[in-house]
């Protein structure tokens, strides 16, 4: 799983209320959710992102509520992968479960916003210009879930195999 895109930088503790404010949670439609993604801190974020772009953030990304609308909104905006120093645990599960790739790596101070980087998720490698950064890739079963496009697709296959 390789990704190439422009970087959008965010700091520490980007919470789910900022990623998608609760008042919009009556909708489950990603196309609608994306219009409010990051709204309190980056209005019209969805117009600024091009398909494949990458979020690079500090620690504890996705802290707060369990709303899966948060990773759905980020994915719908067109973000291909989120790289952060650390992720809040529910967000981590949710993103992987819906097929939004995440990578734990501390590169916030190594990249410029708007610059283009390349990520090899399976290898945990990030190329920033001529420099390469190594990080721990997600465990194999999580890569498998991502490869299927999410947990429910993965389960569908497992259930077919069981029969």
């Amino acid at each position: 799983m390789r990704f190439r895109g422009r970087v959008f930088k965010f700091g520490d503790n980007i919470d789910t209320d900022v990623i998608i404010p609760a008042t919009y949670l009556s909708s489950t439609d990603p196309e609608e959710l994306k219009r409010h993604c990051m709204e309190p801190i980056v209005p019209f974020f969805y117009e600024k992102v091009r398909q494949g772009d990458i979020i690079v953030a500090g620690s504890n990304f996705g802290c707060g509520s369990s709303r899966e609308h948060a990773p759905y909104a980020i994915k719908a905006v067109g973000i291909s992968i989120v790289i952060a120093r650390s992720f809040a645990r529910i967000f981590y599960r949710n993103a992987m479960n819906i097929g939004l790739p995440l990578l734990e790596a501390d590169i916030l101070h190594e990249v410029d916003g708007g610059s283009e980087i390349e990520v090899d998720l399976k290898e945990g490698k990030i190329a920033i210009g001529p420099r390469t950064f190594a990080s721990r890739p997600p465990p194999p079963f999580m890569l498998e879930i991502l490869g299927e496009g999410g947990l429910i697709n993965y389960l569908r296959r497992k259930r077919v195999e069981r029969v």
Partner: protein, 418 residues
């Protein structure tokens, strides 16, 4: 093994587990609300199931945007009712059985010692006060568990918080958990279990323990857990819906860290915007005028919380221009507060009493903030825009501080109004 490890081991069908291992565990109960259930239901629909693994173990609580704040919220509730009917889910709580999920499930004896509970709501960790493993997950994990009855979990390391000393007047569970979050930070317990022990936490009532366990997620924790004692037993008597067995830690249990806390040094605290770790003693925040006070939520909407607030507000008036919302967390709490005369105190003081709902806590409805407004609330999060406009502010505090602040019109120590 710690209590958490023991519960995970027993639910994984194993004699022993250790931190860092990934285990597949059986789930005793799973929960979703009117915001997270619709996404979970959509995922379950994609599986074309004839039946769920066990509909008796599924609970839906319609509490976030209810009473339905608009047509879409109403449609989501209808979708949950229809799905429940189709799959034989009887535990659907609303209207006459209304309540905020994390106050409601313990009240109804649906979550019990030694059990493993997951909920599509981050504050599912609240139930750890009853000596069980409970943690928040997302809608897709919940959908998976509705189909399979299992979920994978990483066994967390356990941090132990040993609390001793004598509580100061007007200091309680809310101040303790804010103090701890202030010390360890909003990701200080990320992926970990937080275990509480020592005579000071065991001196807390069950309501106080629920408040502590409720906010462990604000330090990033996977779960919070208390030992079982006589108070737990008494709370469950006549309530428990199933038999239960009490988990106990081994003497040689391993903790990744042990924190000694003298609760006698803790004063009434406030968490300033925009993180729950941004703690100050209330006496040090200066004169901050407020527009709104919220006394309620899954953190502090229980009977003891209303008791403290009523004690402070008795015979007093809410400052003119301040909107004070009181939200009993469940119908039963509401009724008991009414019988005890608290509602009269609140109404005489000029509070608005709302039906049980999460309402303003997450900026959903029933009292959201305009730009430039400031609220002090007994809720659990003060993130940017949490209670409404992105240019509004939420300060977190105990019911005592909130009630006193409503009277004074600014954030104050309870002693300032007594």
């Amino acid at each position: 093994m710690t209590i958490t490890e023991k519960i995970l081991a027993s639910h994984a069908g194993r004699r022993y587990v250790e931190p860092g291992e990934i285990v597949e565990v059986e789930v005793d109960l799973l929960l979703a609300n009117d915001i997270t259930a619709p996404l979970a239901i959509q995922e379950v629909e994609r599986l074309n199931l004839d039946s769920l693994f066990d509909p008796k173990k599924v609970v839906f609580v319609l509490d976030h945007f209810t009473p339905a704040r608009d047509v879409r919220a109403a449609e989501n509730c209808r979708m949950i009712r229809e799905f429940s009917k189709r799959y034989g889910i009887e535990h659907v709580f609303e209207v006459q059985d209304a309540g905020i999920e994390h106050a409601l499930l313990p009240e109804r004896g649906l979550v019990l010692p030694g059990e493993l509970v997951i909920g599509a709501d981050s504050h599912t960790c609240t139930y750890g006060a009853l000596s069980l493993f409970s943690t928040g997950v997302g809608s897709t994990d919940l959908a998976y568990a509705m189909a399979e009855g299992r979920i994978w979990l990483r066994v967390p390391e356990t941090m132990k918080f040993l609390c001793h000393g004598k509580w100061q007047r007007w200091v309680g569970g809310k101040d303790l958990i804010l103090h701890i979050i202030g010390r360890i930070g909003v990701d200080g317990a990320n992926y970990k279990a937080m275990e509480f022990d020592g005579e000071a936490v065991m001196a807390l009532s069950m309501d106080g323990r629920f408040t502590v366990a409720n906010m462990v997620v604000e330090a990033g924790a996977k779960n919070g857990i208390f030992p079982f004692d006589e108070k737990t037993k008494l709370f469950l008597a006549g309530r428990a819906q199933r038999p239960y067995s009490v988990p106990e830690p081994d003497r040689e249990a391993n903790y990744c860290s042990v924190w000694e806390i003298d609760v006698g040094t803790i004063e009434p605290l406030v968490a300033l915007p925009f993180l729950p770790s941004n703690i100050r003693p209330v006496r040090e925040v200066g004169r901050l005028p407020i527009d709104q006070v919220v006394i309620g939520s899954c953190t502090n909407g229980r009977l003891e919380d209303l008791t403290v607030a009523a004690e402070i507000m008795r015979g007093k008036k809410v400052k003119k221009g301040v909107r004070c919302l009181v939200i009993p967390a469940t119908q039963r709490i509401y009724l008991e507060a009414l019988r005890r005369g608290y509602m009269e105190i609140f109404l005489e003081a000029g509070c608005i009493v709302c039906p049980p709902t999460c309402g303003p806590c997450l900026g959903g409805h029933m009292g959201v903030l305009a730009s430039g407004e400031r609220a002090v609330a007994t809720t659990n999060r003060n993130f940017l825009g949490r209670m409404g406009h992105k240019d509004s502010e939420v300060y977190l505090a105990s019911p005592a501080v909130c009630a006193a602040s409503a009277i004074k019109g600014e954030i104050v120590h309870p002693e300032e109004v007594l």
